[in-house]
Amino acid sequence: MNWTWFHKLGSPKWFYEISGRWLPWLAWAAAILVSVGVVWGLAFAPEDYQQGNSFRIIYIHVPAAFLAQSVYVMLAVAGVVGLVWKMKLADVALQQAAPIGAWMTFIALLTGAVWGKPTWGAWWVWDARLTSMLILLFLYFGVIALGQAISNRDSAAKACAVLAIVGVVNIPIIKYSVEWWNTLHQPATFKVTEKPAMPMEMWLPLLVMVLGFYCFFAAVLLMRMRLDVLRRESRASWVKSEIKSLVGKSA
């Protein structure tokens, strides 16, 4: 297998150039997918026979929850790459992705609460999924807080990597223990998120939204990473000329 692309990824300049080319595509894809998904899901998808229109919040809730979980896994993967191959870009990715993941978790929790009100009659219910989501939010807070607390940025990235890896090993354990706890304490609650079969007209817009959210995440992550790369490499000559041309354009 040819590994040159992998090592090339380590070069900030190469990353900056290639990501500049991808960024517009990703941004447009995200915009189109999300707008199509929103209109389709909110206006055209059929009503749920049990929950009426309130179920439509899954078009935000589910993609956000998906993303929240996969971003944490991504943090751990970036952590392994950063620790093992000492790739600086992985450090950048880890630290820049964490706040996005935290926001997605927050959105998932918020929409979950909004959904809970008509469904369960309460804003917050200690449901297994919501509780796991809350714990995930705390895990994100931990990674972000640790990164902020350590002033040396290489150490900060490495420390976050270790924490994210420990966290990712723990996530399945947390998830199963919370589910177990939940079944012990609240036997057979009404589970909204486990529909036995969703009709095609309902899940197709959901799929579009999930894809849209992933593109959105990728675009935002690339933007944040590009900014951080410029800041880290501020002494390099290519960064100086890049900044000059950017400032020149806007002036």
Partner: protein, 223 residues
């Protein structure tokens, strides 16, 4: 290699016993937290008995966490950690000895104190073996996981609160399993399932966390 392990155990024991007050602090904290609850929720024994599993476990969790803040601090400040890192011995082995020594005196003391406090909360005698066993299996996990956080925050001026933020979410499975075991025992159900799960988590923690602790210490020392 194993001789260094036992030597470090001996050295840590000696250090702990030359400053016994530090050993007592988490225990007193544990007792105070438990005493706070009857004062806060009222002395009805029925209510206290119902919440006692969660109470004992939350208090134990906080007491372990509190004692861990200083786990590596003095070693960091006096340069001992640097010596560990440049030594030919695997750092994971050294930290395992360190955490083991710490647990043997703070965690184990907590386990032994727990039945007394359990009695004060109205736990029936029949639940005591489960209380003891669940704490015996659970506190090593708390110490080991907490040590990961302590290793990552040892270089920071105010690491205490951050340590709690990093580690408490990771403590949740232990809390669920430990208090679950006790609850089952209170209801007269078998608690063996919970205890077996705790035991397997302990095995997992003993094998995996030393590497994370060692990585964390290397990062903190290398800053």
């Amino acid at each position: 290699m194993s001789s260094v392990f036992t030597l470090l155990l001996k050295r840590e024991t000696r250090l702990l016993f030359r400053r016994p007050a530090e050993l007592a602090n988490p225990l007193v904290f544990f007792a105070i937290v438990i005493a706070l609850f009857p004062l806060a929720v009222g002395p009805e024994s029925q209510l206290l008995q119902t919440i006692s599993p969660g109470l004992v476990w939350v208090a134990a969790l906080l007491a372990v966490l509190l004692s861990l803040d200083g786990l590596f601090r003095s070693d960091f400040e006096d340069g001992s950690l640097e010596q560990w890192v440049v030594s030919p011995h695997p750092l994971a082995l050294l930290v395992l000895a360190k955490v083991l020594a710490h647990w043997a005196f703070s965690g184990l003391a907590l386990v032994l104190l727990a039945p007394l406090l359990g009695l004060m909360l109205g736990l029936p005698l029949g639940a005591m073996p489960v209380l003891l066993l669940s704490l015996l299996l659970g506190t090593p996990i708390l110490s080991l996981l907490g040590a990961v956080g302590a290793a990552l925050t040892v270089g920071l001026k105010r690491g205490g609160l951050l340590l709690a933020l990093l580690i408490l979410p990771l403590y949740i499975p232990v809390l669920i399993l430990g208090s679950g075991a006790l609850q089952a025992a209170l209801q007269g159900l078998p608690a063996i399932g919970h205890l077996l799960w705790l035991a397997s988590l302990t095995a997992l923690a003993v094998t995996l966390t030393p590497f994370a602790i060692a990585a964390g210490l290397k990062i903190s020392v290398g800053e």
